[in-house]
Symmetry: C2
Subunit: 261 residues, 2 copies
């Protein structure tokens, strides 16, 4: 496979959750955010919040970034231009989430290039209200994801991924047969077991009442873990609808008004 | 500002819409997609479709990738594990859009590192039905964004971005005063005008009936362009709700059922 230092760096990349005492300089922070800003897509609907409070930051990271979908700033510009937003919230969020996400991923890669490690915090939208409060966010700013960052004090291996023929489909989406499903599951499960990933972090997800535990850390791995997440978590859309409403995006009302009877 | 070859590459990056006749090899395609797969986030809910038909691809690009949110594949794995999905569609989409977006941005950067240019096609979700048809997508696969890619036959400058103090906010989200709004607008507008961006592409967005055109390509620039998009486009949430429904995600019904009276 074709390779170079950048590709090798991407393939080596893994989440870092332990950080040294060294504080990244303002120059480094600026370089990372500038690289983030240059990510493609069009509308610059992503904003970045920063907190340097190690005591309060997840994993005591020296840097905690919060990537937000920011319609507030855009609407101030539109106002200065004599325009009112007409785009619905669903469309604006779909654009803005992408703006913020492309920016975030550029920041991850930029950080790696200057020796910093990072970890995404995917549950961010579920505690959006606390972020609104902490940073004094105006309405129309939605915290999408947080990124803890600092100099790595651990060096874990890169984590397994699906075989490429389970992720890249040319011309037609395949009808997965049992062998290809099980083959991909084996790659993931054997890969995480070989790294002792869940045991070392004591990360087994508890079963809801009524289900009996049949796994130990000798057998518990990625496909069971991810199945428990999607099989037990995030059932109630109200959690996110409420979080969005608290940030001034009324997706629920919009969908309701436009739902066929 | 701190710098290195990777950061410099990110700051130089711009969308490419003209491609040479050279076809990227399978090895190159695989290297790009593998780098995409290694992007962080947890659930591997992103899938990549590929079409190499230059005649049909946008900008006659040799490669057209479609990044999808793929719950179908995940639900097949859960089924093999004896699980049913319980997570609501809104939560699953929020996770899956991020998985697909982080993957896409890694692919953009991986491509740059081997000399390929690319351009995102942000309107993808609005013609999801055509992609479902073209690739035979099963339900629960949602085409998020397309990425046209190939060897560049043009070398435009990088495009302007907001000043960093208009994008990075430490501790508190600022109360923008008029001067900071107008300063950022000037940076964007003067920057695009200096590149003759809209004139060279004849890209002025037409005004809806009732609004009188007061701009020429001597004055029309980024803030007016983006205001016209958000002020005129994507008004009807039904467009996206329908597209999602066609892909087996019933966000509308879910929101309606959970909307406070």
């Amino acid at each position: 496979m074709e390779t170079n230092a950048i590709l090798e760096g991407m393939l080596r990349r893994k989440s870092i959750r332990e950080f040294t005492a060294e504080d990244p300089t303002q120059e480094t922070v600026d370089a990372i955010v500038r690289a983030g800003q240059q990510a493609p897509f069009a509308a610059q609907l992503g904003s970045v919040l920063l907190k340097r409070n190690r005591e309060a930051n997840p994993f005591h990271a020296p840097l905690l970034f919060t990537l937000c979908v920011d319609l507030h700033r855009m609407e101030r510009i539109m106002e200065a231009r004599g325009w009112e937003r007409a785009m619905c919230d669903l469309s604006a969020l779909l654009l803005g989430i992408q703006d913020a996400a492309y920016m975030a991923q550029n920041m991850v890669q930029a950080a790696e290039s200057v020796g910093l490690g990072s970890c995404f915090l995917g549950a961010t939208p579920y505690y959006a209200d606390r972020i609104v409060e902490a940073y004094g966010l105006p309405p129309r700013v939605f915290p999408l994801v947080q990124l803890a960052m600092g100099y790595p004090a651990e060096d874990p291996p890169a984590r397994p991924r699906y075989p490429i023929d389970f992720a890249l489909f040319e011309d037609r989406y395949p009808a997965f047969d049992r062998a290809s499903i099980e083959g991909a599951m084996d790659v993931m499960d054997a890969g995480y077991l070989a790294q002792d990933y869940y045991r070392s972090r004591n990360a087994m997800i508890r079963l809801e009442e009524g289900r009996e535990e049949e796994f130990t850390y000798d057998s518990y791995s990625w496909t069971e873990h991810i199945s428990r997440k999607l099989g037990q978590w995030g059932k109630d859309p109200n959690e996110l609808l409420r979080a969005l409403r608290a940030c001034g995006f009324d997706l629920g009302a919009e969908a309701k008004a436009n739902q066929p009877e």
